[in-house]
Symmetry: C2
Subunit: 279 residues, 2 copies
């Protein structure tokens, strides 16, 4: 089998930065380092960091001492306040693009806009963005949901940074009908868009697509969804062990891409397994 690996597969800037920050923190000798939830949505990386002393916790209320790393998806405003109240040390590994979206959410809200975030309701990034809104807000994930949006004087729109650009534009276009004044910030990070576009092109050319990344990773799930629309033989896996060779014919060309939180070593193991080490 021939394997074609997408150039854009794997870590994005924000994830790379967060992991580097976390590993750097462990080098300083402290063994009281925590993240609120996993630092990125990849179980393999989280496990590696655990071995180095970075422990994910579910709630800030369980911590009395130590250092909290603010994870790539950002932290909710109230949690940040509580971290400060408890005099815990803070290392900020929030993705700069998420931080920008938080800032837009806050300023739109202050300016009187109803803030609509195009994204997944349960995603920590969306929750962190919305925590900066003081007024009205709503989460929309598809055009069907726009029908439920009431007409409002001023609507502000931002996106989860890993949204599909197509979905965002469709939703924003529908929202124009809902207000006389609408301010739209396309906060999707360019890496996400470029990765999605490359994956679409690759999915068109190959027999099968493998999309590697955490099953809890929203951007990987979206990538898998986009690929499946183009190529029904698209499979979302986490690690090389998940590969099922009954998916392929020996003559198949396999396209491989990976989410923003998928480390290089996991991608390498998948490619090695697919090619029998002859890549």
């Amino acid at each position: 089998m021939k394997v074609v690996l997408a150039k854009t597969a794997g870590f994005c800037y924000g994830v790379k930065r967060a992991i580097n920050i976390a590993f750097d923190a462990t080098k300083k000798g402290s063994d009281d380092i925590y993240t609120l939830g996993p630092i990125i949505h990849n179980p393999q990386v989280v496990e590696k960091l655990k071995c180095s002393g970075v422990r994910p916790v579910d709630s800030v209320y369980s911590l009395d001492t130590g250092t909290v790393i603010l994870r790539s998806h950002g932290v909710e405003k109230n949690d940040l306040k509580e971290i400060k109240n408890r005099s815990l040390s803070i290392i900020d590994a929030t993705c700069p693009f998420v931080k920008k979206a938080q800032g837009y959410a806050q300023s739109l809200s202050v300016e009187g806009y109803k803030v609509i975030v195009v994204g997944d309701a349960d995603h920590p990034e969306v929750r962190s963005i919305l925590s900066y809104v003081s007024g009205e807000s709503q989460i929309i994930s598809n055009t069907e949901e726009v029908k439920k949006v009431k007409k409002t004087t001023k609507i502000g729109v931002i996106a989860q940074t890993t949204q599909s650009i197509d979905n965002f534009i469709k939703i924003a276009s529908e929202l124009i009908k809902k207000s006389k004044e609408i301010k739209i910030f396309n906060t999707i990070c360019d890496t996400t868009t470029i990765r999605q576009l490359e994956s679409i092109e690759l999915a068109k050319k190959v027999d099968c697509m493998i999309i590697i990344g955490g099953k809890n990773s929203a951007n990987t799930k979206r990538l898998a969804l986009i690929c499946k629309e183009i190529n029904p033989k698209s499979y979302h896996i986490e690690v090389a062990q998940d590969i099922d060779f009954s998916w392929f014919f020996p003559s198949d060309v396999i396209g491989v891409t990976a989410g923003a939180s998928t480390p290089d070593w996991v991608i390498k193991e998948v490619v090695d397994k697919l090619t029998g080490g002859n890549n």
Copy 2:
């Protein structure tokens, strides 16, 4: 023949207001009253006002004394400056919705947005709105023209107040792809939208449509265009004399609508002629 007259046919708020202001001005006894260009786009009304002493002029530079009525479509910023320089008296009959659009154009420009006006390049309202832009600007009248718009950091969008809502939404939706930050003001006046929607419904039900209004009236031309898309037997006329009875069968039901600058007496003459005075 049966005639169905649209409820929304005829004068809008801004036109009614402008004409009242102009006739009120003539009552004050001055015979030095001017407008820069016609006060509204209806030759019959302009003629009536001329008889009462309100004369349209092409340029402010031809005036040294008297009163200038700022017409419903608004006046370009430089012309207004020149009117003031020449110490002419000013009566402002600018439609409040146009004034609002001028204000948005100015504030968007000050805030660093490239201002895009969805409208007709040669229309005095569009020219008056754009005269308040200090930075970059562009006029777009259809989605095809959006392709020529370069990607820009910040785009601000406003509409000529009498644009078709469908066209505006289509263009604004396409423009979302052109910038990371886009602020959209739907400055189409509600009367225009309601009139267009009622005319569409009427055009679907009747055998023929008659659209009454100045041949120089952008909103009437647009109304005629919208009706023609629904009902090919749609005719744009200015006055009752323009009716050609070869357009109809005796059993036809005729829908009648009229642009925002069409006076009631012109509409009445048309309906009377169509029904032989039996309405």
